[in-house]
């Protein structure tokens, strides 16, 4: 379980190194390799969406959800590239973008925000900064849950996802707008609410369960950084 066992900094390092290497290494093989790695990562059980409390057992199939998200998010970029460039350029850039998208999607799925906060605080970062980063990542499942609720509510008002372009655009508006509006509206309330939970600058948060950071992983992170620097060096020589 990559998400459950690897240290959050290692997850961040991987999610940063893959896109970096994709752009540094020569196209298209460099991009193909990193994209392949990133997409395979989305299949790992650690990337499966949170399943506790629902009685559904984790396994291989949930990984397909993350893979599908990554593919669907990257697809429009390929479309635009095809419109603007010739095929070799499209493939070269498309693979790099796919790597970025897949790495980010995997990171959001695999990185548990609580562990990130604990890791950052254990490393000396202030709780507020750590929380800001973690909250950005944890916003995704919250928004996903809300998006599902909004889709349900609009369908029950007669919104049909079928029909011509105009109908689909209307449908998109009825789904995206409430999500954005209610999320924005809640930003103020959320900031207020978090204050109520003791997130005050200047106090050192007590780590409840700092994730273990074995030497192997620390070495691996340095190795990734060196690999990127090495590739960069070689590219510009």
């Amino acid at each position: 379980m990559t998400g459950g066992r690897l240290h959050p900094f290692t997850l961040l390092a991987i999610a940063g190194a893959l896109p970096a290497l994709a752009w540094i290494l020569p196209a298209p093989r460099g991009g193909a390799a990193t994209a392949a790695v990133a997409l395979v990562l989305t299949l790992t059980p650690g990337a499966s969406p949170g399943l506790t409390g629902t009685g559904v057992s984790p396994g291989w199939r949930p990984g397909l959800v993350v893979l599908r998200t990554a593919v669907l998010t990257a697809a429009p970029f390929w479309l635009f590239l095809l419109l603007l460039h010739d095929v070799p350029t499209t493939i070269a850039i498309g693979l790099r973008i796919t790597t970025m998208v897949a790495s980010f999607v995997w990171l959001v799925a695999a990185l548990q925000p609580a562990r990130l906060v604990e890791a950052m605080v254990a490393a000396g970062w202030s709780a507020s900064v750590a929380y800001l980063l973690a909250a950005t990542l944890s916003a995704v499942p919250v928004l996903k849950a809300r998006a599902r609720r909004i889709v349900d509510a609009q369908r029950c008002r007669g919104l049909s996802p079928r029909g011509g372009i105009a109908a689909r655009l209307r449908a998109l508006r009825a789904l995206a707008l409430p999500l954005v509006l209610s999320a924005l509206h809640e930003v103020d309330e959320r900031a207020l609410a978090l204050e109520t939970r003791g997130l005050v600058p200047g106090i050192r948060r007590t780590p409840l369960a700092p994730p273990p950071d074995p030497a192997v992983e620390q070495a691996a992170r340095w190795a990734l950084l060196l690999a990127c620097l090495f590739a960069l060096f070689r590219r510009f020589l």
Binding site: Q112, P141, I203, R205, T206, L208
Partner: protein, 258 residues
């Protein structure tokens, strides 16, 4: 001993002409439960935010008059899902979030969390994912989270809104227990029928100003009934045309009837 003292407090939200609070003077003592009642928009929520030192510090706006606090405050907002940290695996972690942020040692955190979970009857849910909880369960978890931070002044904004009857009754008992333990409690609620058993004093807010202060007997006054703020029993007694004073609760009505 006074935990919270407001004197002539007026508050304007940013970019608004009319004040949300007008010259409010109010005291809450340790060991006392004070209830704020009023129509929607009367200023109860704003008053709680001012008491919690969130207005104007976090909300922005302008405050005049004086606010004095003796103890650390904790506030339970009417929208519990916004108060959830969003990053706890389990209910236990969620409740521990606040105390951990305060930098307490782990054994102290564990003690407060276990106590809060017990008080809110959440022990069976301790290992559940907060995202899988129902609205009522989440409201109880947030209440536990705030109590686990051991505030001296506890502020509740419509804490029973999403709770079913049993959970609501347990909550009112818990609030009385908090007062017995020496905390000061200020509570905004529309559950008027529960107040005779819960509140020591009732403050009636209207358009941001204090219209009346008194014991829960206030909720049986003619004025309160006419304003829609009487208890159900008092309101029905008034509607029947029977002479006052109106009974506050079913028990009072039974006594009068005999």
């Amino acid at each position: 001993m006074r935990s919270l003292t407001l004197e002539g407090a007026s508050f304007w939200y940013p970019a608004t002409e009319s004040p949300a609070l007008r010259e409010v003077s109010l005291e809450v003592a340790q060991g006392e439960v004070v209830a704020l009642v009023g129509a929607l928009g009367a200023g109860a929520s704003t008053l709680l935010l001012v008491a919690a030192d969130l207005a104007p510090r976090v909300t922005g706006g302008r405050l005049t008059g004086s606010v004095a606090r003796r103890d650390r405050s904790g506030i339970v907002l009417p929208t519990p899902w916004t108060q959830a940290s969003g990053m706890a695996f389990t209910v236990w972690d969620e409740v521990a979030f606040g105390p951990a942020n305060l930098g307490w040692p782990t054994h102290e955190i564990a003690r407060q969390v276990d106590r809060a979970l017990e008080q809110l009857e959440l022990v069976p849910l301790a290992l559940r994912d907060p995202a899988s909880l129902s609205g009522g369960e989440l409201q109880r978890v947030i209440i536990a989270s705030i109590l686990a931070m051991d505030p001296g002044l506890v502020l509740f904004d419509e804490p029973a809104a999403e709770l079913d009857a049993e959970a609501a009754r347990a909550l009112w008992r818990l609030i009385r227990l908090q007062a017995k333990e020496g905390k000061a409690v200020l509570l905004a609620t529309s559950a008027l029928d529960a107040l005779p058993d819960v509140a020591d004093r009732v403050v009636w807010l209207e358009d941001g100003a204090v219209r009346a202060v008194g014991t829960p007997e206030l909720l049986a006054d003619v004025a309160a009934c006419d304003a829609g703020l009487g208890t159900s029993v008092a309101s029905v007694w008034r509607a029947s045309g029977l002479p006052g004073p109106y009974p506050l609760t079913v028990a009072h009505a039974l006594q009068r009837w005999r």
